[in-house]
């Protein structure tokens, strides 16, 4: 957020736009994280391109007339539920002069009225009223051929799956199921399945880092037990847990699945080595935080999904959250976290979820470390002379049942390069 020091780290110099990205997929150049024109191409080719962008959850707008401010890529949008219960997504920018008219985090409305000249829109984004359209005293006003129907807000196509709302600017987009692919769709359904979800609250934070680094972070199981020593210190996660890292055919989405041995340490067979580590760890003073009340139809106790480009979905224990990544230039992005419970939770279950959620969020034991690490990383990328980062670990054609690998990062950039033409 502070000024960029004077190192010439942009690779666009002397008016040329020549950039080199090695054919070697283990090398990732700094400039994809720092250069303004790369960022501008991402808006066009990725966020406004052939992708489903996560924009919110149905439980954030449960009733007709409910709305939230949200984002499609960096673009401010409003997500509404109209009188018939349909969900609509449109730009938060008046068709007249461009005012970002919706200023509340959330609310309920019959219509949106731009405060500057009172142009009025319905919950679908259609223009419904313009003051002095015919002028005053027979003078002024709109041209006779002005067509209200052509002057609505820019709207986006919408789809939902299991209460999760996606939007796209692409007119012939495939279904969300085809977009996710069978393996990611299966894990997506496991996270968002079960009884109806209920919003417990929203966290918001700004990270001084490129948005892609967050996608990378959650495609990078290698860091999980190294950076997050809370996990190993308190025996929450050990590297030898059963795991899987599925993806889609194009390599853009990813899953990070793990299975914690259930209940008390069961000193048996192949888990014995893990248990030794577990016994040597600190015990939590408040062990309620570790309780798990089964609610997912899945063998995995933890699942982190990255849905390209803007969604991450996590469940661990009874924590369920989504994170919307909102890019704000190459060096900064915003995160909007939605933390979920269920409509049928009793008061104690709500409190259990609130207790567990200390692990995530902008003050979470893992959240603090990821945010700090990404800040340090962006500082390194923008403050030093440009070079390539390394993503060397693991092979791309081996089984997906171990975590000491960076294959999901490589596969995302294989896809990224094809879309960006880089």
């Amino acid at each position: 957020m502070d000024g960029n020091p004077g190192v010439p780290n942009s690779t666009v110099q002397n008016g040329t736009k020549e950039r080199i990205w090695s054919e070697d997929e283990t090398l990732i150049p700094d400039w994809i994280y720092t250069d303004q024109d790369v960022y501008e191409q991402e808006i066009e080719k990725i966020f406004l391109g052939r992708h489903w962008n996560f924009v919110g959850l149905e439980c954030e707008i449960p009733e007709p007339g409910n709305y939230i401010r949200s984002y499609l890529g960096p673009l401010p949008v409003v997500v509404t539920r109209n009188k018939d219960g349909e969900i609509h997504v449109f730009e938060n920018r008046c068709a007249h002069r461009g005012v970002e008219f919706c200023r509340e985090y959330r609310g309920s409305a019959d219509s949106f009225i731009c405060p500057y000249h009172n142009w009025t829109y319905n919950l679908e984004g259609d223009l419904t009223a313009i003051p002095f359209r015919r002028g005053a005293k027979g003078k002024g006003g709109m041209p006779a051929d002005f067509d209200m129907g052509e002057r609505g807000l820019r709207t986006f196509h919408v789809t939902t799956r299991r209460g999760v709302i996606f939007a796209t600017a692409c007119d012939d987009m495939e279904s969300i199921e085809d977009y996710l692919g069978p393996r990611i769709c299966e894990e997506f359904d496991a996270t968002f399945g079960g009884s109806e979800m209920k919003l417990l609250g929203i966290h918001r934070n700004i990270l001084p880092a490129n948005w892609k680094l967050y996608q990378e972070n959650l495609k990078d199981p290698y860091h999980a037990t190294l950076l997050h020593t809370y996990l190993t210190t308190f025996g929450l996660f050990v590297p030898s847990n059963e795991s899987d890292i599925p993806g889609d055919d194009l390599g853009r989405h990813g899953g990070l699945l793990s299975r914690r041995p259930e209940g008390r340490p069961d000193v048996s067979e192949d888990e014995q080595a893990d248990m030794q580590a577990y016994k040597n760890t600190m015990e939590l003073n408040d062990k309620r935080v570790m309780n798990f009340f089964p609610e997912f139809d899945s063998k995995w106790s933890g699942s982190v999904l990255t849905v390209f480009p803007s969604l991450t979905a996590l469940r661990q224990g009874n924590i369920i959250n989504t994170r919307l990544l909102v890019p704000r230039g190459p060096n900064e992005f915003m995160m909007i976290w939605a933390v979920l419970g269920r409509v049928d939770d009793d008061e104690e279950m709500v409190r259990h979820r609130l207790r567990q959620n200390n692990i995530y969020g902008p003050s979470g034991f893992l959240g603090i470390e990821d945010n700090e690490a990404l800040k340090f990383l962006q500082d390194g990328l923008r403050n030093s002379l440009p070079r390539d980062g390394l993503a060397l670990l693991g092979e791309d054609d081996e089984p997906t049942d171990h975590i000491i690998t960076e294959r999901s990062i490589r596969s995302m950039y294989r896809y990224y390069r094809s879309v960006m033409g880089l």
């Binding site: 957020m1 502070d2 985090y105 959330r106 919003l199 417990l200 609250g201 929203i202 966290h203 918001r204 934070n205 700004i206 990270l207 001084p208 950076l227 020593t229 809370y230 210190t233 308190f234 600190m282 939590l284 003073n285 408040d286 935080v289 915003m334 933390v339 709500v350 409190r351 609130l354 207790r355 959620n357 200390n358 969020g361 902008p362 003050s363 034991f365 959240g367 603090i368 470390e369 945010n371 700090e372 690490a373 800040k375 340090f376």
Partner: protein, 161 residues
């Protein structure tokens, strides 16, 4: 009149308490911070928009000292974060109501954070909604709810406020 002087006395006690509390956190004495609470005390840091929308999610949510001790241990022993200086200022302290051993109180707080080679900046502003308990050991927090206006957090909030 008597009620007014009881509230005034309570306010003075709470101001002393809050100055010591802020100093403890400024010194990163997180183990010491835990001792400002009753055994079953509640510590809840919540965004103002969540609070006003009836959404219970906490940025930090500790039910009881055991949970606070686990957070203190993590912050002092396992967490990775950049070095920093912190100044917590607590102002506009008011004692609102006395019910036996309990005092309902409120205050404003401002956390200024300074990172290495960065300017000092306001990291969080908010209001405390407190319930103090008078005990033989002096005042202790039965409940401290920190409702922050700074809904958009700059990266992360590492330490309690």
């Amino acid at each position: 009149m008597e009620k007014g002087s009881a509230l005034r006395e309570a306010r003075l006690d709470i101001e002393e308490f809050n100055y010591a509390y802020a100093d403890t956190l400024d010194r990163f004495d997180i183990d010491g911070w835990v001792e400002y609470f009753t055994e079953d005390g509640l510590y809840h840091v919540i965004a103002r928009d969540n609070e006003e929308s009836g959404l219970p999610l906490g940025l930090i949510y500790c039910e009881g000292k055991a949970m606070m001790k686990d957070r203190a241990y993590a912050l002092l022993n396992t967490e990775m974060y950049a070095p920093r200086y912190l100044q917590l200022s607590i102002t506009n302290t008011r004692a609102l109501k006395i019910e036996g051993e309990l005092i309902h109180a409120a205050a404003n707080y401002t956390l200024i954070e300074t990172l290495v080679e960065e300017k000092s900046r306001i990291h969080q502003v908010g209001k405390y909604r407190d319930i103090f308990r008078r005990t033989p050991k002096g005042l202790l927090l039965q409940e401290r709810k920190c409702i922050y206006d700074s809904v958009m957090i700059d990266n992360c909030l590492v330490f309690p406020v």
